[in-house]
């Protein structure tokens, strides 16, 4: 029997223009720790702004990390689920997407980013952060497609979006999901 995927990451991209510097994320994330601003146990902040196309600034938690991530030089809010989540693939996707989305909304309201940072509600990337449970193959992609379609249909409406497997084979399985009409995304 195929192993069930877990440790699902969701990255919601920031819309252009993005802030030039992510320094503001440091006080924001420290405040989130003070305020217990997420359901996870929040532990510390890691600053990787010096790393090109790197993880940016990370809010490290026990069950998950949140980061303003710069992978592929594309800013986005990345939710990296570390603790397994019970349920179906849709449940796991829903959990990760909702956590990421809530963090985006909160970040957009923070004084450091207010009116400077907006996230695209019509596209995201799903990363299966476990090469054994979800090897990066066409077969896995096809196997997981219906679960993903179900979740994104719930989010955006059936038949309105496209899923695309992106990246190279050595990467983790990475799927870009986007609303078809999102060439001029809503803010």
């Amino acid at each position: 029997m195929a192993k069930q995927p877990d440790h699902i990451n969701v990255k919601i991209f920031a819309l252009e223009p993005t802030p030039e510097d992510l320094a503001g994320a440091i006080p924001v994330f420290h405040r989130w720790i003070q305020q217990n601003a997420a359901p996870e146990l929040l532990i510390d902040v890691a600053d990787y702004r010096h790393v090109p196309a790197g993880p940016g600034v990370i809010l490290v938690g026990l069950e998950a990390n949140y980061s303003l991530d710069l992978t592929e030089n594309r800013l986005g809010l990345l939710y990296n689920r570390k603790k397994p989540v019970a349920g179906s693939l849709e449940d796991k996707l829903r959990q990760a997407y909702e956590a990421a989305s809530a963090a985006c909304r909160r970040l957009e309201q923070e004084p450091e980013f207010h009116r400077k940072l907006h996230f695209d509600p019509n596209s995201c990337e799903v990363i299966f952060n476990d090469r054994l449970l979800a090897p990066n193959t066409l077969e896995t992609f096809e196997r997981l497609r219906s679960g993903m379609e179900q979740f994104f249909a719930e989010l955006w409406g059936r038949g309105t979006f496209a899923l695309e497997r992106v990246g190279e084979p050595r990467e983790r399985l990475r799927v870009r999901a986007a609303v078809r009409s999102s060439l001029t995304p809503l803010i």
């Binding site: 192993k3 440091i26 006080p27 146990l41 532990i43 196309a53 992978t71 397994p84 050595r170």
Partner: protein, 754 residues
């Protein structure tokens, strides 16, 4: 933590060297035993440290969030990972890379691990290791298995052991080398890995190899033991050997290593290492970790006396067949290029920035037509995607000849010079072509308060800030100052090697105006050259936020006032320490909090500064006696016996239970007599004589009962078992080991001579 952890062992079974696979199984059992509360937390801490599994800041479960110190709400009901160390708290995994040598697949696996178990970044350390941060301890056996499958071990990456053996990253391709030290460093690393004579040190032990005396690549003179390549004519033939140094080290009190031997023939390399290890084990401090490094022993005994003792031990060593066997393998070590040698085409069009990169990051090898390219990593950090890119380039342009450096960079060796423009283009596309290698902007920094439990100030935060400013000012291109070295440690422990920098800093705190303020102690004039030839002068503590200005003053003054050809060290000596202090004295006061609160916050942080988060360090490892260790290993064996029984392997289960008892008896004999009999009959006889006949092993209530379990098992060893007798023998083994622990505790508590 990862849902896939239970599956990796089967997945990789055929790919792991059996020895490494067995060691990881052992570690996994130890984890299981600790979860069941069957191993003492101190013993477990040392066990995991010796597997490279470190604690990280805030793992006590307490953290100051800028307003107050809070208890982090980790799940309850789990054991600790060590004294005051919460099980679920993120930790660090150190990955030992002997002499920094890596192939492409290994880079890819480290990339995978960084993504799946850490924060997406792999960090190159000042000992040529890799580190992954924010790792969950439950994931560590899987991490180790995935590394083992590509030939990497994390064994003895931390703890009171022989740490990663380092060597010049240019060894073998260097124009100045006496000979290639790589195979000797490799031989030393693998010979001493897990060596029984190296298991009872009071502290860590660091070894380095250098191909020449003048260049700084290996920093031999700041090591516990260092080797510099040398040749000598003996009977008309040139023979290889090493100039040997002992007793160097940075730490709080830096010591320059002392010349132990001007010429040690290569045949004596391994025996000498064992003899030194013996002397360190026998006479080194064990209780006070602050004076337990070998440098204190060399100092206490004096070099001559130390030498004499080493020579005595050497004379008493039984020859080990591996000495010759490993030496015979040396000539087979050879790195080869992938491509033919080439010439850089002067007239060919090149990408913008190539010349600068070529001047700074390319080293022309002793082999004509080949170059070594440095990939400068900011603060030693590299992403998973970049690691894969380096792996691609290592395959495309070389025979996967990659090394890490003690300056926290990577080098690609054996690049045909004709390929340099193409390689540059590809590195640039991967944002890996920053032309700063070895420059003033290529700052070395330890983890500091980012992740280290002992960190006082943010060495990485400061390094990132200085780096950015220096690059913006073009200091890396200014011929006068571009070659200066800056190194930063988060505290006095010098993991950032601040003593051997032109300009070094280490984190301290000062109480000002009722607040604690982050500062950095400034050191100037340390010597990176001549294998870390001299250490810097401490000038004074500067508030962290004013360090950039202090640095700028030194740069400016050196640039404008240095005499022709005058080094930074000579310049500092000429102007003198008092003048150095005067230059920055006005920067030392801290403005009141209400005037400028930014002084009270460290770099890369937003919280008001505190040192309340300081933890107990694990750099040195827990100090656990070998008996503790051996008894823990015996418990693990008893546990394995249980697993074997459950798997229906009756005979093996009973046999393993017997061995657990025998090894427990061995541990006690070692403690009492210093003897370490191997033969089961000898162990049995000696245990009977010294522990049973003397009643030393007797329990106050059960008397000699537990010893009889061992005697009975010994007597029937080899006779067939049924499930019932095997189960009983396992239970008896557990009771025997309990009694062994009690006996050991009684011996420890007994007055000396009693």
């Amino acid at each position: 933590m990862k849902a896939s952890n239970p599956f990796w062992k089967d997945q990789l079974e055929d790919q792991m060297p059996p020895q490494l696979a067995a060691e990881i199984d052992v570690f996994e059992h130890e984890l299981a035993l600790r979860r069941q509360g069957k191993i003492d937390e101190r013993v477990f801490a040392e066990t995991r440290l010796r597997r490279g599994v470190y604690g990280q800041r805030y793992d006590s479960g307490q953290r100051h969030d800028g307003i107050r110190t809070r208890t982090l709400a980790y799940p309850e009901g789990k054991p600790t990972k060590g004294p005051n160390t919460v099980w679920d708290a993120p930790g660090m995994q150190r990955i030992k890379i002997p002499f920094g040598g890596l192939n492409a697949r290994q880079l890819e696996v480290i990339a995978e691990l960084a993504e799946e178990y850490a924060d997406g970044v792999a960090h190159v350390t000042t000992r040529q290791d890799f580190q992954l941060h924010f790792v969950h301890i439950d994931d560590t056996p899987t991490i180790m298995r995935r590394l083992a499958a590509v030939g990497i071990t994390t064994r003895e990456a931390c703890g009171n052991s022989i740490r990663n053996v380092t060597a010049c990253p240019l060894a073998g391709v260097c124009r100045d080398q006496v000979f290639d030290v790589t195979p000797y460093a490799k031989m030393m690393a693998y010979y001493l890995l897990g060596h029984p004579e190296c298991q009872d040190f009071g502290r860590k032990f660091k070894i380095a190899f250098s191909g020449c005396k003048e260049n700084p690549c290996a920093l031999v003179r700041m090591h516990d033991m260092g080797f510099i390549a040398a040749v000598r004519e003996v009977d008309g033939a040139l023979r290889r050997g090493f100039e040997v140094y002992v007793g160097g080290g940075l730490g709080t009190v830096p010591y320059q290593a002392k010349l132990f031997a001007e010429f040690l023939p290569v045949e004596e390399l391994l025996p000498l290492a064992v003899a030194v290890a013996r002397v360190y084990t026998k006479y080194g401090e064990k209780k006070n970790r602050n004076t337990a490094r070998i440098k204190f022993l060399v100092h206490k005994l004096g070099l001559e006396e130390f030498k004499q003792r080493v020579e005595q031990e050497r004379a008493g060593l039984r020859p080990d067949p591996r000495w010759e066997q490993m030496l015979r393998e040396i000539p087979t070590y050879q790195e080869r290029p992938l491509k033919d040698p080439g010439l850089l085409q002067i007239t060919a069009p090149r990408l913008e920035g190539f010349e600068r990169w070529y001047a700074r990051n390319v080293y022309r090898q002793r082999q004509p037509g080949y170059a070594t390219v440095t990939i400068a990593l900011p603060l030693g950090d590299i992403t998973a995607a970049q690691l894969r890119r380096v792996a691609d380039l290592a395959r495309k342009y070389t025979r996967e000849t990659v090394r890490t450096t003690v300056e926290q960079n990577l080098v690609l060796r054996w690049v045909s010079e004709a390929d340099l423009p193409a390689l540059y283009a590809e590195l640039k596309a991967a944002q890996l072509a920053e032309p700063v290698a070895g420059s003033i902007a290529d700052i070395v920094a330890c983890p500091g308060t980012d992740t280290c439990k002992l960190g006082i100030a943010s060495s990485r935060g400061l390094a990132a800030e200085l780096r950015q400013r220096l690059l913006a000012q073009g200091a890396d291109q200014d011929a006068a100052v571009s070659n200066l070295h800056i190194k930063i440690s988060g505290c006095f422990n010098s993991c950032g090697q601040h003593h051997v920098a032109d300009i070094g800093f280490y984190g301290v705190s000062r109480n000002k105006n009722g607040y604690t303020v982050p500062h950095f102690q400034l050191l100037v004039g340390g010597q990176w050259e001549e294998n870390a030839g001299s250490y810097g002068l401490a000038i004074g503590a500067i508030p962290a936020k004013r360090v950039p200005e202090a640095l700028e003053r030194f740069i400016r003054r050196y640039r404008s006032e240095r005499a022709f050809g005058e080094s930074f060290q000579s310049f500092i000596q000429r102007i003198g320490k008092a003048e150095c202090k005067r230059m920055v004295e006005d920067l030392m006061p801290v403005p009141p909090h209400e005037e400028d609160p930014s002084f009270y916050v460290d770099w890369s942080d937003a919280r008001e500064f505190t040192i309340g988060d300081l933890g107990v360090g694990e750099c040195a490892g827990e100090l656990v006696s070998p008996v503790d260790f051996q008894l823990a290993a015996c418990e693990r064996e008893a546990f394995e016996a249980q697993l074997l029984l459950e798997a229906g392997q009756i005979e093996r289960a009973a046999q393993t239970a017997y061995k657990a008892m025998m090894h427990g008896a061995q541990a006690l004999l070692r403690f009492k007599l210093g003897a370490f009999p191997e033969d089961p009959e000898a162990v049995y006889q000696q245990f009977r004589t010294h522990f049973y006949d003397t009643q030393l092993f007797f329990d106050p209530f059960a008397q000699g009962k537990f010893a009889h379990y061992y005697f009975a098992a010994h007597a029937r060893n080899g006779a067939p078992h049924d499930p019932e007798s095997a189960r009983r023998q396992i239970e008896e083994a557990q009771l025997f080991l309990e009694a062994a622990h009690s006996c050991y505790a009684r011996m420890l508590a007994a007055p000396a001579g009693g």
